[in-house]
Symmetry: C2
């Protein structure tokens, strides 16, 4: 009662004082000095056709106020999206997904902002590709790399790379060709060169993992399908960015055959070097942690780890390499080596911070996409072009997924020729229903929109509008029907990974339902095969945990779900592939890399399997009283 | 060896490809379209005298690259600052402080950027008051509120409010008057009105807590002095912001006596309403957490808590209230009520994230200040004005600290008249050496610089330059000599707070030295009187911890350091004040507020003192096997 009363008073007073202050500010016309040194995050576009001169009626104080309101609205949308997410999880509603709702909220608020008078808030909430690439994207990629299930990822590497590299290429070329032919017909009054059409094709070839993977998580879809789609969408973001930038370099030049090879060479170099930069920086962190005492100061340690990871992104981008690839592999290396050299507190901090930042960024991106549809004033919508593009991306995805699946199946068949057939019930590596699901999983995301903002030339705005609408359509249509398709296609769901049970030592309030989405909503059940060790070590012993030996990992992995024979079989088949394909790396890793990059404490413990007190002798193995 | 080899190759290739790509980009002149839709965080100032038209030789790709390098440099400076901090802690060097080094690094790199050709990076790394207020400041304030030692803070509330409110006012008026008189003489060719002089006075009246408090932490200075300085500098940021904005509203108008009362009224309203907004939002979070099951989804829970806290800041700013005050009290309320309704995982996540963000922001701000000295191209340095201002801030601080200390002493003397005299060895609440230390602790910080960017009128740039130089000077001079002054003034140091020992359950690697700064570097020993409970509950029992009853708190508080008689005595005297002053609120809090805002689980546990299983029955009190 009291609080309600006070709340009412406070809000009323706040509003009235706010209004009177606004009145003073805008009425007094005290903006005799156009304050150039007080830029706001988004300076209103001076060439904006409907706004005129934005500094006309804005003094710095009002500017500050509008930017506060814009941020308030954005955060409010985020809160609404997260709240819906909680509500959906709580009610176990799976038909509607949180990302679809985020876009929807964004659209509603975008419409309100568009219709309301004044333009300052509208300018401030407009999608900004620089923010997207420098602020929103890095946490998502870093978290993906860090939470990646390395065993599954590297076991399916052949499939992932096949779909990611030639797949994206095929998709971009098919899409580019269709668009080029359509625009050459000239019904829309748009006429673009083949290179520009290819640019648009590249922007629309980046698939988005967020929606599809949270649905997969909710249904606990077969880890293999999960891993392939996850890996593909992670890598094809990077690949479409590199393709797009390569295309942009040829913008305005005549297309030659030599350009193709130059482009491919540029692409291969960029990818490889970016990967190396990422791994190097990850290893650098491991070495720094190993050879210094910085773990004694966990606050500084976690800050430094976070900063150095980001450095890999900006360094790579600064060298015109692919920051996404670097960051992804930096995250993977970090988890594989540096993780074991961190203090326990930093392990926890880093994990939670990566998760929180990634989640906020993901929701933000979808809210932004919805807002953009209405707050971007220069967009030119060409309905025919949009329809043609929407159809073409399905065609392009079809041309990429099905032939390449056949190739992958052929490759595995040829490889396993002579050995026992695949035990997973089907003789094919990627059966038809998986192929269909992969086709369906081809949602396009914010990376495409952000790239499309870099399109040059006179047809920039129609093309940008087309990309934006198509992206939103795919999220709503494919994202909204994924749950249904899983049933129609008879995809295996409910694959419980027992390692998941102890993913988090603090997560005690979540009810444990078998086969339920709600209890583990938002964290990937396939993401962390060391989770059990991490959780158990932190509880009573407070000993840094160390990677189990390869054989143990293998055993643990195979023994994890004895009751579910299908999963078991798949895992066995993965295990056998793993043995044959990656044996050399595993041996090298155990015998050369880990001794170099892991702390000697970790090494001892891997060998002796008993916790050793650290150099200060502050704990004993079962010290609960500390 | 292998890694070094690969590293060399990768870097060489990266650089060569990077160069060739830059060559292509800038040589081909493909920027036929000035991309208005790809704004970067800091659009180069179009009216910049030395840059000309920035879009002349920048296509979007190069723009993206420069912005990556600018971010790379900023993060690198941050890494350098944090690394120095580690090094200083490790070597136990206390003479040089990390913030001084941060400024120094910023200056060196700023100089290099200034001297190197090209202006894009220079434009991007320039201090931006909008970023400062919307991105860098909130985490620091929120963390301060959250980590505040509430018992100490409210016990010293009279002193804190006295120094914060009339103190800042006196300081601003004295400084404004001196500056007005000096500029009226006209030696510098500057002529400003009294209101503008008062604006500058207000910007230079915000003291900065970061440097001084980390030194105090390192030396474990008497909690009372610590709390007063901490509380003063927290509140006077808010107060100088409100004063500055009030002055700005009178900019260009003739000063009248009625303006003074109008200003005071505006100030009082703003402060009160902001405080209420902050408390309301904190209580709102507590109620949401209490009445929903959101703690079952800790990821969503932590995101929501963080977002709602930020909403208090932006909402308050949007209503032209003081976001800082709201955020501070939102943090305090959050810790006092909502903390106990959170899941354990969110408690940990929120704590670590607040700490990490605050630390990054603090370092960033000092790096930025150093950079600003050289990268801001429009500054006009007036040496005489700078010297006069530097002297004036000492005079102003003197006029604020010493008379008000006398007032506080008189107040406490009058209050305790008849009862036993203060047992702390001195008969005064604030003895002379404490007053001198408070005078010395008047470093000015980034809030002043950020405010100074909002100065209007033709003398903006000389005034901004003056504020910037004076701020840097105070940090270097006062910050560099604080450690020495502690010894000269014979201030009590080495006050070990036993609660501090178990501040963090994961912090096992830190060596425990009595009276050593290095083991607890960077976390306040006075900040969390519930830390022991929090830490112990998390270890084996996994039960949410609850606030101890008031009497227990009192007892614990008094019993915490039996060996150090002085501290004990001070605490006793505080305790007696506490009893008499805040008894009514404490009773009200226990009997009305806590039952309303805390979870019923919490209430039961406070009464029965035995952990109860939650509604899912998933744990028992000593469940180690989970």
């Amino acid at each position: 009662m009291l609080s309600q009363f006070l709340l009412t008073i406070a809000f009323k007073s706040a509003l009235s004082v706010g209004k009177s202050v606004i009145g003073i500010g805008s009425g007094s016309g005290s903006s005799d000095d156009d304050d150039e040194l007080l830029p706001t995050p988004d300076i209103p576009d001076l060439s904006d056709p409907i706004t005129g001169d934005p500094s006309e009626d804005l003094n710095p104080i009002n500017e500050e106020m509008f930017s506060s309101w814009a941020l308030f609205i954005l955060l409010f949308l985020l809160i609404a999206a997260l709240w819906s997410s909680y509500y959906l999880a709580q009610r176990r509603i799976r038909a509607v997904h949180e990302t679809v709702l985020s876009i929807f909220y964004g659209m509603v608020v975008g419409l309100v902002i568009r219709l309301s008078p004044g333009h300052y808030i509208q300018d401030t909430v407009t999608f900004n590709s620089s923010y997207f690439f420098n602020v929103l994207l890095p946490p998502i990629i870093l978290n993906s790399g860090y939470e990646l299930n390395q065993v599954n990822f590297f076991n399916n590497l052949v499939s992932i790379l096949t779909f990611a590299i030639p797949g994206t290429f095929i998709s971009a070329v098919v899409l580019g060709a269709i668009l080029f032919i359509w625009t050459a017909i000239g019904l829309d009054g748009i006429n673009i060169s083949f290179v520009d059409a290819l640019s648009v094709g590249a922007t629309l070839s980046a698939t988005d993992p967020v929606t599809i993977l949270s649905i997969f998580n909710a249904y606990k879809v077969d880890p293999k399908l999960y891993t392939i789609i996850f890996g593909e969408s992670l890598l094809n973001d990077a690949i479409s960015i590199v393709m797009f930038e390569t295309c942009q370099k040829f913008h305005g030049k005549p297309a030659k055959l030599s350009s193709l090879f130059e482009g491919i060479w540029l692409f291969m170099t960029t990818f490889t070097i970016s990967l190396l930069i990422g791994c190097m920086i990850g290893l650098l962190i491991a070495l720094i942690l190993k050879h210094t005492h910085i773990r004694r100061y966990p606050q500084i340690e976690s800050c430094l780890i976070l900063l150095i990871c980001y450095e890999s992104y900006f360094f790579s981008n600064g060298c015109h390499m692919s920051g996404i690839v670097s960051l992804l592999f930096c995250g993977i290396t970090l988890k594989h080596y540096a993780y074991y050299n961190m203090s326990r507190r930093s392990q926890v901090t880093i994990k939670y911070i990566f998760q929180l930042l990634a989640r906020l960024s993901e929701n933000f991106i979808f809210v932004y996409l919805g807002l953009e549809l209405f707050t971007e004033v220069e967009l030119v919508y060409k309905p025919l072009l949009i329809i043609i593009t929407a159809i073409s991306i399905c065609v392009a995805r079809y041309c990429a997924v099905f032939p390449l699946s056949r190739l992958v199946n052929w490759f595995y068949k040829a490889k396993s020729n002579g050995s026992t057939t695949n035990a997973s019930g089907s003789t094919e590596e990627i059966p038809y229903n998986y192929q269909m699901m992969m086709f369906w999983a081809g949602l396009r995301g914010a990376v495409g929109v952000a790239l499309a903002m870099g399109i040059q030339g006179e047809f920039k705005f129609p093309l940008l509008a087309t990309v934006l609408v198509v992206v939103v359509l795919t999220v709503i249509i494919f994202g909204g029907t994924t749950a249904g398709m899983l049933e129609v296609l008879n995809i295996k769901t409910g694959c419980v990974d027992e390692h998941d049970e102890s993913d988090d030592e603090f997560d005690i309030e979540a009810p444990k339902f078998i086969n339920s989405s709600s209890s583990r909503f938002g964290s990937s059940p396939y993401s962390d095969f060391n989770a059990q060790n991490a959780a158990s070590s932190s509880r009573a012993e407070l000993v840094p945990d160390f990677p189990p030996l390869a054989e143990e990992m293998e055993n643990e992995f195979n023994a994890s779900s004895p009751r579910i024979s299908n999963v078991q079989n798949i895992k066995e088949s993965i295990g056998s592939l793993f043995k044959s394909d990656s044996q050399w790396f595993q041996t090298f890793d155990e015998q050369v890399l880990k001794p170099v990059f892991l702390d000697s404490n970790a090494q001892n413990s891997v060998n002796s399997k008993s916790p050793t007190p650290n150099q200060n002798g502050t704990f004993s193995p079962n010290d609960n009283s500390q």
